[in-house]
Subunit: 636 residues, 2 copies
Amino acid sequence: MKKKHRLRFERYAPEDFIKKYQELVRDTVIPYQYDVLWDRAGNTEKSHVVQNFINAGKALRGEDTGDGFYGMVFQDSDAAKWIEAAAYSLAVYRDEELERRVDELVDIIEQAQDKDGYLNTYFTVKDREKRFTNLLEGHELYCSGHMIEAACAYYEATGKRKLLDVMIRNMEHIYDYFVTGKHGGYPGHPEIELALLKMYRCTGNEKARELAAHFIDVRGVDRDFYAREKEARDWTVWGNNPVDLEYMQSDKPVRELENAAGHAVRAVYLYTAMADMASLTDDAQLKAAADRLWESITKRRMYITGGIGSSVHGEAFTVDYDLPNDTAYCETCASLGLMFYAAAMNELECDSKFADAAERAFYNTALAGMQLDGKRFFYVNPLESLPGISGKAPTHRHTVPQRPSWYACACCPPNLARTIMSFGQYAFSENTDTAFIEIYAAGKVRFENGCELDISTGYPYDMDININAVKGGRLALRIPSWSRSFTVTVNGREESVTPENGYVYITINDGDRIGLSLDGLPRWNYPSVRVPSIAGMAALTKGPLVYCFEGADNEGDVVGLAVDTAAAAKIGEETDLGTDTLIADAYRTADNEELYSFDEPAVSAVKAKAIPYYAWCNRGENQMRVWMTRYPHPQK
Amino acid sequence: MKKKHRLRFERYAPEDFIKKYQELVRDTVIPYQYDVLWDRAGNTEKSHVVQNFINAGKALRGEDTGDGFYGMVFQDSDAAKWIEAAAYSLAVYRDEELERRVDELVDIIEQAQDKDGYLNTYFTVKDREKRFTNLLEGHELYCSGHMIEAACAYYEATGKRKLLDVMIRNMEHIYDYFVTGKHGGYPGHPEIELALLKMYRCTGNEKARELAAHFIDVRGVDRDFYAREKEARDWTVWGNNPVDLEYMQSDKPVRELENAAGHAVRAVYLYTAMADMASLTDDAQLKAAADRLWESITKRRMYITGGIGSSVHGEAFTVDYDLPNDTAYCETCASLGLMFYAAAMNELECDSKFADAAERAFYNTALAGMQLDGKRFFYVNPLESLPGISGKAPTHRHTVPQRPSWYACACCPPNLARTIMSFGQYAFSENTDTAFIEIYAAGKVRFENGCELDISTGYPYDMDININAVKGGRLALRIPSWSRSFTVTVNGREESVTPENGYVYITINDGDRIGLSLDGLPRWNYPSVRVPSIAGMAALTKGPLVYCFEGADNEGDVVGLAVDTAAAAKIGEETDLGTDTLIADAYRTADNEELYSFDEPAVSAVKAKAIPYYAWCNRGENQMRVWMTRYPHPQK
């Protein structure tokens, strides 16, 4: 089969669910984050992002740098992710004022670039002698990566080259240092690899591709690099351990990796680049490694919500089947990274399992990262929240029970914004002869292969999808793994189709009306007994949505609820959060005064109400659980 | 009622269960720990304990200190706890060689004491100028406390005063510094307070009592003490945070404390001294605080095994109802400390709840701290062990799935040894007119009030206790809270008795034969729904023993087992570990290949086998669970 590639982001104009989210990002998140970059947002920590670029420009011109650098070593990346989100927004929603703001920021960034192409405000303002002396922690290559992504997106959205040219010069500077100059080392936080491949796709620049290949190829070969680097410098950012090789993803050449390990975001960014590179080069070893790591995550190290990274210690993967609910890390960025990885794998191999995981990550953990009003954000997305313990016990300090308004480390909110604004990249793909619908979403989509579709659906709530073929072609429809049955109709007549690797293929003519009905029933999910934290429990899903039980809907207590999985859950009324509800038969255990008792506590039959996980914690601090105890004695 | 006090330790000569443990300590643990102190034990980390004392003596004489100091800042306390265990052993089991070894060590310790009475090898060898400049971390007062306890025990066991005189001089030195000299501050690790009260009881020395009162009274009054102390010094041991006031138990005067907080061992050592002091002085505020803290622990912060300290972060208490099984800390020393606290509370107030908790701590967490052969020790005692995750995931590094042979920080093994050897202190108490049996144990006990008993019982396995009154008197028998029924007979005739605060009182004559039958049935225990980690689960107990399910008895998998609590568990065959077993109806969930599945996994009815928790992990690394999932569908 011909290789498929992601839909170009400007080719999808959403309606309904995704449109509402994009409008929220456009109208609330992008303006708010813009104010944060400029330190004009109230009630939040100073970000200093734009001022850092202004001060770097002054430093280069030999002027007084005023209040110098402020923030995290990777503070520049917030500007990059904001520009990228704005670019995606501009591709669908023209907005002169927003474009002016981006142009203004690009001018400031250009001024912060050194003559040799170097671009990083932390090192330019603070100490230019330290450039590239701390790849372990310095995040220069990470920041360049994000700015490269932003530059490509803005160029593709508007045709404007200024930032792209800045970043090509920056890429060439990095190329000269590492490839031509034969300096050792590789990025402490992978990101630039996938960005360079985006630049290659966007511009055809061979140096970008070569530099990506270089960083992928040298990683983990010189295992002692970070230790020697640390030995040679007299400064540190956080005192990271250079010999925790597995954590640093420097323990072996990437083609030999077996298990998803280390910092979860870094891991999936690296694996994304590996998959992208394997697509470009047909490198069988790289593809095999990317496949193994995919299995490692999705078969042994992923939460049902698509969350990854079980532990706050290093925001990292841990070991197989270690998936605690209440102390989970599940960083929003990690689930976004899982979507990037899925999209890359999806190009490498035609199997619906990749879109299954991307969909799981998006509709659950990624969207849960943002309050429904777009104003507060979760960095950490646990599957159980316990006010009194969550955010308080030392093991639970990271699982705060309410979304904060902004973070000192603000990676997640702009990352989510750019991903929502480019949702078409994950929902659709194509090759020269087939248009793929990976994730169902309402709106108009124009494939490069000529196919044009107008899709109506209440997805992710309603599992009936109606497609109007404005221009026909060969269409591939993903049958999600959660859908136990489906019917496909063309102009009202049912088609007899059998999925191949999770897709059904039909050839349609201009004007055809295609109907797809997926299984929209609430379903109980049962975990493997290999996962100790949830063995014997059950969780509810409907379509792509994972549901959770919140105290707000259940008399303040969900820990004392035990669900009866013998009965199917029913779809209940809509909430004022704009979601539906699922209603399950359950039993509530009375609150026993005694910590431990010989007397089996009294139970009473109740209806337990669940809402989609992405909408949790929009009604104040309260208990929340995804995985529920099952009721022991339904016969009573 | 007249106040009761602990039995003097030399007055109990055990038989059967406790005798076997004491013989194990006498024959294996004390000799092994002696070799460790002298660095003669193979296969373990160097301890250097005796050499530190030798080198400190050299330092005081101005000689070359050779290899100097080695080990933890509190390394001296290992010698103290070993001497204390040896003293208790000598009180029951005469042993000239052991006594010679103690005397030899006492001579070495005496040589390490400075002329002014100061005694601590860390500071004497390394830097005498730093004495008492780091109460936060320096552990000088902690080490003095343990050596005071050792000195009192050795004096009481043998009548030998040398170490006692050394420690009286040391106490006077500390008194001069803190009381006469008005230096501020209080012990970073409480321990000396309870030791000083032991010294007062043992010698009547008023300064010891005054100094204990001083440390109790000033604690938490000057809240900024540790911060100022840190400011004033240019060195640190571990970099402890001086302003984490609740953790340091320095947030408020002890009489105002509400919740058990901070480092669990330090907490219960402090509370023990508070209760002891309240007994001595009838200080109502101190008693009220000791009561509140007791309730805080036993009603909201204690595991069913008598383990305390939910988190590895600071080995500390956390928040109410935060009792995770797999990441529990439950340090062996903390449960021993809970026994000390219980014994002190038991003198303050006549209620069987104190012995209930002491018994729970002893027969479960404390004994689990030692391998059945006395050669390996747990510091951390989780209620769930998961090879593959335990000891490996970063959140589980501390819950190693096998007992190590010795620790760099070797506080627990000698602490357990001394407690086993002085078990009579916890099992019996008395006042001038009543002899109390707090915890049933076979053997001969001679109360100071004249009562002499010869007790036969298979406790903690057999709940029939037969008591031969060698000399009669008024006897109080504790009716444990776990015993739902009981009968008392005197010379075969059933007595009609009603417990008062958990004790039944009978007056017996010389030669009477008393029978007590307690409830020895296996029972399911149900937790409060306030404890999220175990809500909806069940645990098995029989008498004072908590049982656990190990993979070794259950086809290697206990996570996949769900017990049917509708059926009572039955007592099964004895194991070759010397324990009995409990057999529960259960269902085994098949190992589903899929991480998450819509298909309810197949289950099969099985008999699940449990052994006493204290005997877990004596057959290699394997899964273990105390709290079990309950089976959802018994009707099938």
